[in-house]
Amino acid sequence: MALALQQLINGLTLGAVYGLIAIGYTMVYGIIGMINFAHGDIYMVSAFISVTAFTLLAALGVSSVPLALVTVLLVSVLFTSVYGWAVERTAYRPLRGSTRLAPLISAIGMSIFLQNMVQLTQGARVKPIPPVLVGGFDLLTVDGFTVHLAYSQLLIVVVTVFLMAAFTYLLSQTSFGRQQRACEQDRLMTSLLGINVDRTISLTFMLGAMLAAVAGVLVTVYYGVVDFYIGFVVGIKAFTAAVLGGIGSFPGAMLGGVLIGLIEAFWSAYLAPEYKDVATFAILILVLMFRPSGLLGRPEVEKV
């Protein structure tokens, strides 16, 4: 019972991170119909930016944890969204209107480029930060097993819930949200109505990168180490989360992320952890067999 509760906490934390990154995949797919394979590496870049920022703050003698966290979040979100914009501008926009495969290949190339760039400029070694947010609550003890909720886990869940609410508002209530949804439905028509489609797409990429940046900061605080390779596995998992929840669907990405986090946490606690990924992908296949467009995805409507 205590173990289950502990894994529920661990799984939700992991799932929140997957979800935040999955939204980047899903939003980009929604608007231009491509999988941005460089998105996992954008997340990796943001983790490096946050390590740099943490180290700088420590060197400047900033000792207040909330101040450091907020500063690092802002710095990371700012720089990472510039990366998101630059990737779209250089690697995808020139290819808009060509075959569907071209931007896909370009995305894979961008992913390799970002990985190697970070490896060459930052070195191959892992970059650690000293523990920022230590400690937590001991929730309850059953048979000598203490359920522990680390402050960093709480932070991840709270920040994620807040961002979900903010983004739901942004997409459903604001004029940018309307433009974004209009572009999803029909880019040509939207442009005829005087909306700057390129700008909307750029902003979408930047928003996706911002969420990845938040995930990067949170993960840096939670795990304490980053290396140039972290984008790959997490990127694949987040992409899977987006597909599971229904690619193109905003709440679907979060749902998919949390589901995958929970499956992984419970599977590795009760069954053989080496088959954890097998379980995740088996469930993905099952879901796609019965709901080809994912849990919350709507089937593609033929536009006439």
Binding site: N10, R125, V126, P128, G144, Y223, E274
Partner: protein, 365 residues
């Protein structure tokens, strides 16, 4: 003016002469990129220093040595294509690969093309397949596992011991041997698990260890995962001692795990930095701002091995080189290297080390 022309003419001639007088091409291969790239970096630094030293003393058989670097990223498929590329470049000696799972498939390719290789891979299968071209300058996982398992059974009586691996050829091989050795001492292994390397979240494993009351974890795998497991165990309020293999020599473990690294024990061959004969070389590495940890000295020794074997054989042809290595004894920074019929080295086996305050030393020191 005329002098200058003459000089130019001479230097042209010199160029032409050196081009005819080809260098010995030797190669290293390992993870130069990818998540274990820091090990590749160690190999490269060790080999570069050794080659500079050998060339400064006049090279081998009157010719200089030149280094080729192959990057397999610890991917078996890439390892095979690196091997083919190296053969096309006509190398005469290979130091590599690093991951056992890369060394094993690549060694078949080198064997076919008759190229001698010296590796640090520890999986028993590396030398158990009857290949004549492969020499191991490191210990074997089965020796390593016996030392680690016996140490755990003797020193952690009454504590629950888990054995975990990362499913790699190296990690699983080592973990199986440790488990066997623990059970040979009539101690029960409380938990036997595998994880997926390359992830960040091992909270599932940590919860499982915690709920089973495990205090000691023997781990077959690489240091990157151990650092994460230790940090996450600390966060979950679990005090865990880890026993690992030779990969724990990487100081990246300390960077990543912080003070938790003090809970890491590992088995490794006696530290080459402690050899009185290599003090001078250790100092020169440090002067060049390179700490000769982990595989640095092994790469250095591999190049010494090649140079001395070629001198003894008076040739760099495969058959001569192979015969010289199998029969000879070589003064290297690791000590006196010589090989048995399988190609395993005869140096003394493994000892148990412990990390303490960012440095490792024999346990109990």
């Amino acid at each position: 003016m005329r002098k200058k022309l003459l000089l130019a003419g001479f230097s042209l001639l010199a160029c032409a002469a050196s081009a005819v007088h080809a260098d010995h091409l030797v190669a290293i291969a390992g993870p130069m990129t990818g998540q274990y790239a820091s090990a590749g970096d160690q190999i490269r630094k060790g080999a570069e220093m050794a080659i500079a030293d050998i060339n400064a003393k006049g090279g081998v058989l009157g010719q200089k040595i030149k280094l080729e670097v192959g990057d397999d990223a610890c991917d078996p498929k890439q390892a095979v294509s690196v091997a083919n590329a190296m053969i096309n470049k006509k190398i005469v000696f290979m130091h590599g690969h690093w991951c056992s799972s890369s060394t094993i498939p690549a060694s078949d390719v080198y064997n076919e093309s008759q190229i001698v290789m010296a590796t640090v891979s520890t999986n028993p299968q590396v030398t158990e397949r009857g290949l004549k071209n492969i020499f191991r300058i490191n210990g074997r996982d089965d020796q390593q596992g016996q030392v680690a398992g016996a140490y755990l059974a003797d020193h952690f009586k009454g504590k629950k011991i888990a054995v975990v691996d990362d499913k790699s050829a190296y990690g699983k091989g080592l973990a199986d041997e440790i488990a066997k050795a623990i059970e040979a001492k009539k101690v029960k292994v409380a938990l036997r698990e595998s994880i997926t390397a390359g992830e960040k979240d091992y909270s599932g494993l940590v919860s499982k260890l915690k709920s089973a009351g495990v205090e000691v974890m023997a781990y077959g795998g690489y240091h990157t995962e151990v650092a994460l497991i230790l940090r996450q165990a600390q966060q979950a309020g679990l005090k865990l001692t880890v026993m690992g293999g030779d990969t724990m020599t990487n100081s990246e473990l300390v960077t990543a795990a912080g003070a938790n690294a003090d809970n890491v024990l590992f088995t490794f061959v006696p530290d080459p930095r402690k050899n009185p004969g290599s003090a001078d070389i250790v100092k020169r590495f440090r002067d060049a701002k390179i700490e000769p940890e982990g595989y640095v000295m092994y790469a250095y020794a591999a190049m010494q091995l090649f140079a001395q074997a070629a001198e003894q054989a008076k040739s760099t042809k495969y058959a001569d080189l192979e015969k010289a290595m199998r029969g000879g004894a070589f003064d290297t920074v690791l000590g006196k290297l010589s090989f048995d019929a399988k190609g395993d080295n005869k140096l003394p086996g493994f000892v148990v080390y412990q990390w303490k305050g960012g440095k490792y030393d024999y346990v109990g020191k």
